[in-house]
């Protein structure tokens, strides 16, 4: 029997989930919307009707900085695996991004630090409209009138639907309510990853003026990569205690737009200019990713555009590139 959750019971559900595990959910922290640990006594602050959080939920599985090892007196200790937790209130785009990251990090040789966190986490997505086929996750709550229709995709998700706040019952009235928002141009483009791959690769030499312009506009600050739910480059760094007996190897987010991302010892830089580095960001997301995983590494969440201090709008850039490409290759339409 299908399960539904009255909308008014959301705080109670979060409270119940918080009893056994830490729950991360979107909340306003000092005016910014973030996935933050929920205080079980104040679950009213969980916000489900939102566009994007500042940082993507990837930060919960691939933190901005994490210790990999502690080496002390010839012994290497691995950091403790995290306790179980729940990520509540993911929107469809962030959920899709996590499912894609799962694929990236599971590709052999796998990234065990990411996967160990993922194994401990239950993902609960909440959609304001009908979600369609969910890309993954444990439980999907789709809004339908004053209730949410629950679709459990895993045993962990099913277990949640057995909590007392859920009621038995089929869809209330009609299908999940609300019309889907109109697709943005970027979402339309992402439906044809092959075209994007062709157009972006083509643009490097065939539309150099676009990259010249962007190379001047981009500040090379790396913000777009930090807020991207599908950027995952990193660097490793060793830290040694003052007495020199303990070394901690940590990894932290890097950004391919930063000056020395491709500089080898001795000083040779394989991507000397911002133009080259900024192009590489697109090349990774739309060309290399397409060849490696069969689709673009972008879910059109809009964060890179929203937080770019130089005002670069990736959607406009891609539309410009694809328009230019299609003028030369008119046969290449959707």
């Amino acid at each position: 029997m299908a399960r539904i959750l009255p909308k008014s019971k959301i705080p109670k559900l979060v409270e119940l989930l918080s009893k056994k595990r830490l729950v991360y959910a979107p909340q306003k922290i000092e005016g910014e919307l973030l996935f933050a640990p929920v205080d079980p006594s104040e679950t009213d602050g969980v916000i489900l009707d939102y566009q994007t959080t500042v940082l993507p939920p990837k930060a919960l599985f691939f933190p901005p900085e994490e210790n990999l090892f502690v080496a002390r007196k010839e012994k290497i200790a691995e950091t403790n695996p995290p306790a179980e937790f729940v990520v509540f209130g993911l929107n469809a785009k962030d959920l899709a991004a996590i499912c894609y990251l799962d694929e990236i990090m599971s590709k052999e040789p796998a990234d065990s630090f990411y996967l160990k966190r993922r194994e401990k986490a239950a993902l609960v997505a909440v959609a304001g409209t009908k979600m369609g086929t969910a890309p993954g996750g444990d439980l999907i709550l789709e809004k339908a009138g004053d209730s949410y229709q629950a679709t459990a995709l895993t045993k962990a998700g099913e277990k949640i639907t057995r909590l007392s706040v859920f009621e038995e019952g089929g869809p209330t009235g009609s299908d999940p309510s609300g019309s889907n928002p109109t697709e943005t141009e970027l979402e339309e483009l992402l439906a044809d990853s092959e075209l994007l791959a062709q157009a972006v690769a083509w643009s490097r030499t065939s539309c150099p003026e676009i990259w010249e312009r962007l190379g001047k506009q981009c500040l090379g600050c790396g913000i777009c990569t930090y807020v991207c739910p599908l950027c995952y480059c990193f660097t490793a760094e060793d830290r040694v205690d003052l007495d020199g007996t303990t070394c901690t190897r940590c990894r932290r987010w890097d950004a391919c737009t930063l000056p020395d991302f491709a500089t080898v010892a001795g000083g040779f830089n394989f991507r000397k200019t911002i133009k080259e580095r900024y192009y590489n960001w697109y090349h990774h997301k739309f060309v290399r990713a397409y060849k490696e995983f069969g689709r673009s590494q972008c879910v059109a969440c809009g964060r890179c555009q929203k937080y770019c201090p130089a005002g670069i709008d990736i959607e406009k850039v891609l539309v410009e590139i694809v328009d230019a490409f299609q003028k030369v290759h008119p046969e290449r339409r959707f």
């Binding site: 080496a71 010839e74 990090m105 796998a110 065990s112 630090f113 660097t235 080898v264 090349h283 290399r288």
Partner: protein, 274 residues
């Protein structure tokens, strides 16, 4: 779940200072690399991430013979933080190793063919491993040449192996830019040596590893010899933080140097802007 970032301890049992800023390190590993049916523990051209706690890790081509069961060797030019930390270690000291990583040279494809190896300066370590492989399985290959150039005669590395390689029928052609009075080899770019190479270009392969000037060597040697780009195998060098295709530092075009390479058909990476 395997932790692919966890390095193993590597005890330094021998250090050879081979030139002013280049040392060869011999390591005995806690856990040896698995051995293939042929008795090799890596493929020449594969690399390891060697590290020193407190300084990090960096990629190095394995320089010892792939048939060696007891130890592995790498060559390290002192050029940055990790290499300086390695240089400061002594015999009996400890470093860390992860690997072996990457593809290595396509040895099966090299069989029954002439081989022209071209390298310069500190680019020789993976080529040295390849020479050792060829020397051990010499019957499998036809004419084999090693062209090696360096700034001065003192900068020619791995001299202790030349005799063995020559005895096994590898023709070694050396060249330096700044000869000393007693220097008997050739002077200038290794490209001058092209006349001494007798191969059948349709049944020949080239293996390259080295710094930027190698591109010139490619134009001036391998082109005149008529070896097609597809049969020229180049080993690429990039910054790496992971070695397993995740961190994104080592990409060139659509390829990861760590997992797709470091050895590429020249026409796979030719023209890559990065």
């Amino acid at each position: 779940m395997a932790n692919n970032y966890r390095p193993q301890k590597a005890k330094i049992v021998k250090i050879d200072a081979m030139s002013g800023d280049f040392k060869r390190f011999r390591f005995i590993l806690d856990k040896k690399f698995p051995t293939s049916k042929e008795g090799t523990s890596f493929v020449p051209g594969q690399f390891v991430l060697a590290g020193v706690w407190g300084y990090g890790e960096a990629p190095f081509g394995i320089a010892s013979s792939p048939f060696e069961q007891q130890f592995i060797e790498i060559g390290v030019r002192r050029v940055g933080a990790v290499t300086a930390a390695l240089h400061n270690l002594s015999e009996g000291g400890e470093a860390t190793i992860r690997g072996p990583y990457g593809n290595g040279y396509p040895l099966d494809f090299f069989e029954k063919k002439d081989i022209v190896m071209v390298t310069g300066g500190c680019g020789i370590p993976p080529i040295a491993a390849l020479c050792d492989y060829v020397a051990t399985r010499r019957d499998l290959f036809d004419n084999v040449y090693l062209l090696y150039g360096a700034k001065t005669p003192d900068d020619l590395l791995f001299k202790d192996r030349y005799q063995l390689w020559e005895e096994k029928g590898i023709k070694i052609l050396l060249s330096v830019d700044q000869p000393t009075p007693d220097w008997k080899g050739s002077v200038g770019l290794v490209s001058k040596l092209v006349d001494q190479i007798k191969i059948n270009p349709n049944e020949a392969v080239a293996a390259m590893c080295g710094p930027g000037p190698m591109a010139k060597a490619l134009e001036n040697i391998l082109r005149p010899l008529g070896i097609s780009d597809r049969r020229i195998f180049v080993s690429e060098e990039r910054k790496m933080s992971c070695g397993i295709g995740k961190c994104q530092h080592c990409t060139t075009g659509d390829k990861y140097v760590c997992t797709d390479g470091p050895v590429f058909n020249y026409d796979e990476v030719q023209g890559n802007w990065d």
